[in-house]
């Protein structure tokens, strides 16, 4: 019953944001034509703002989602290295140098090493992935990420059979990241992790851009993880190190407060945070009186990922 009500309201919401999106595309097209003439630039080009023209849409999903206006996604980020304020991070993150960038891949792999980002990207086919992004704070937005499957990067470095988990480490740069400088709250650098089957899942991507443009710094440039069926904090930003591990890594939020933030952190409306409900979420970018949406198990990606957890008690492994 509840789901039906929510869907009925959702359907009536579609008109406005779609118009908005079209308007954006027109402007984007105009700017693209003005600036580049051709409209398409490769991420490999030594350019601060690479853009993609018509990217192929990844055929990992069938559901159609209404994309959140880019201005909202660009100005509503939890980037605690810079600030606890979701808007201030937009300007503060601009201090982070992201070019050149290299990623260390190590641990249980045949081909460990330090790779230049360009070299990694040149071997990947970049696609657009439109995912719902659900924050543990009970808000959500729909983001058209630009990226490639993590699996295809991992296959490149050839994980050993002993690799059971993947550990991601974000950049540590206290000179530009004020909260790292004062050791505020969390243990820095930020660390996240996935089980190897989660990491190899086709929905799990490394993103280098969004809305057809290169990744804004506040959104995790130049390379971030996106795991759409998990709470947003799992999708670590500004990755500098990917390690394949025999055992589960200790992740940042889990270490900070293990009862609040589990290793898995799969979106699950039936498992509330100890202090607040996860049953519903506020959708950003809609009209003012748009009511909350009922949160879906695995953020709506249950068809694709539920089998990963078929023999697990999701209340225990939250």
């Amino acid at each position: 019953m509840i789901i039906k009500t929510t869907k009925a309201i959702l359907a009536s919401e579609i008109t406005d944001p779609l118009l908005f999106k079209h308007r954006r595309q027109i402007i984007k097209g105009m700017i693209g034509t003005l600036l580049t003439g051709a409209g398409v630039k490769s991420v490999l080009a030594n350019d601060n703002k690479p853009t993609w023209g018509d990217l192929p849409k990844a055929d990992v999903l069938s559901q159609s989602l209404t994309v959140t206006p880019a201005e909202i996604v660009k100005n509503h980020t939890n980037y605690y290295e810079f600030t606890f304020n979701k808007t201030d991070s937009t300007s503060l993150a601009q201090n982070l140098p992201t070019d050149p960038w290299s990623v260390e891949i190590s641990g249980e792999v045949e081909k460990p090493g330090v790779y230049h980002l360009e070299d990694l990207l040149s071997q990947q086919s970049i696609q657009e992935y439109i995912y719902r992004f659900r924050c543990v704070e009970a808000w959500s937005m729909v983001v058209p990420w630009v990226g490639f499957p993590l699996a295809s990067l991992l296959k490149m470095v050839k994980p050993l059979s002993s690799a059971q988990f993947v550990k991601f480490t974000a950049i540590y740069d206290p000179n530009v990241m004020p909260n790292q400088k004062v050791n505020a709250m969390l243990e820095w650098p930020y660390v996240e992790g996935l089980r190897i089957d989660e990491a190899m899942h086709p929905l799990t991507i490394l993103a280098v851009g969004m809305y057809g443009e290169s990744m804004p710094k506040q959104n995790g440039a130049p390379l971030r993880l996106v795991v759409p069926w998990k709470y947003g904090f799992k999708s670590i930003k500004a990755i500098v190190k990917i390690e394949l591990m025999k055992r589960a890594p200790i992740t940042t939020w889990n270490k900070f407060s293990p009862n609040d933030y589990g290793f898995y952190s799969n979106v699950n409306p039936a498992v509330p945070h100890p202090r607040w409900s996860q049953n519903s979420e506020r959708q950003l970018g809609g009209r003012f009186f748009m009511p909350r949406r009922q949160t879906e198990l695995f953020n709506g990606y249950g068809n694709e990922v539920a089998s990963l957890y078929s023999d697990m008690d999701l209340r225990h492994f939250f």
Binding site: N78, P274, R282
Partner: protein
């Protein structure tokens, strides 16, 4: 004299409504940021809390400055705390949840931070209903007892604020410090007065208890010299 007081009254009324005007302007011009409803929750909740703190500030200021003219404004400030708390709750029910009661019910049941907000709001409703002068007269001693629940409400409010945070714990620190100072002041006053009482009248236990209750009455705690206190206690005991 009456006229001047009225003017001040109306001026304060206008000032107390400014935060609402500011909110309305920001809604009109879409100036509430990427998550406008969350911004509204925080903005209205903050103002409800600030007015509650101001209400609790009246007695200490009165005691310290010995200026007696403020008692009337305490009621007014308290009513504004109720006013902004009500808007805060209305935004939660109407704007955030569109009165979808099933989702609201689950949200309240599963969100412990909301329980504290709810406790505070229920207390504030009770205090608002019993705030008219006739209610005060009719309730007699019970009125004071009931209105002391404001201390519970203020603690519930600060827990409500902290409990919903994920990140920056320093944000509500200012408000926590203020409310602790306001509460510590009362405890200190209570201890001070209790000492006085002990020194003055070492008689039966019953009289002592009565005297402490009386001193806690903010309106009577302005002059704490011995003779006055003695008088109060005698007055209190006589009717029995």
């Amino acid at each position: 004299m009456t006229f001047r007081l009225d003017t001040l009254w109306s001026k304060i009324t206008l000032v107390c409504l400014l935060p609402l005007l500011w909110v309305i302007i920001d809604i009109t011009f879409d100036n509430l940021g990427p998550d406008p409803i969350q911004t509204l929750h925080i903005r209205l909740g903050d103002w409800a809390m600030r007015f509650l703190w101001l209400t609790l500030l009246v007695t200490p200021v009165q005691t310290i400055t010995k200026w007696r003219g403020m008692a009337d404004y305490r009621q007014m400030l308290g009513l504004y705390a109720f006013f902004y708390a009500t808007l805060h709750v209305m935004v939660y029910l109407l704007v955030d949840h569109g009165l979808m009661w099933q989702i609201i019910a689950v949200d309240i049941l599963e969100s412990s931070y909301i329980w504290f907000g709810l406790i505070a709001y229920l207390i504030i409703i009770a205090l608002t209903i019993s705030s008219p002068k006739w209610a005060k007269k009719r309730m007699g001693k019970q009125w004071k007892k009931l209105h002391r629940l404001i201390y519970i409400a203020s603690l519930a409010v600060i827990i409500h604020y902290y409990w919903q945070l994920k990140g920056n714990m320093a944000e509500p620190l200012f408000y926590l410090i203020i409310i602790l100072l306001l509460l510590v002041f009362r405890v200190a006053l209570w201890f001070k007065n209790r000492k006085f009482t002990k020194m003055m009248i070492p008689t039966t236990r019953r009289i002592k208890v009565v005297s402490v209750a009386k001193v806690l009455n903010p309106e009577l705690s302005i002059d704490l010299q011995g003779p006055v206190l003695k008088e109060l206690i005698i007055q209190e005991v006589e009717p029995d």
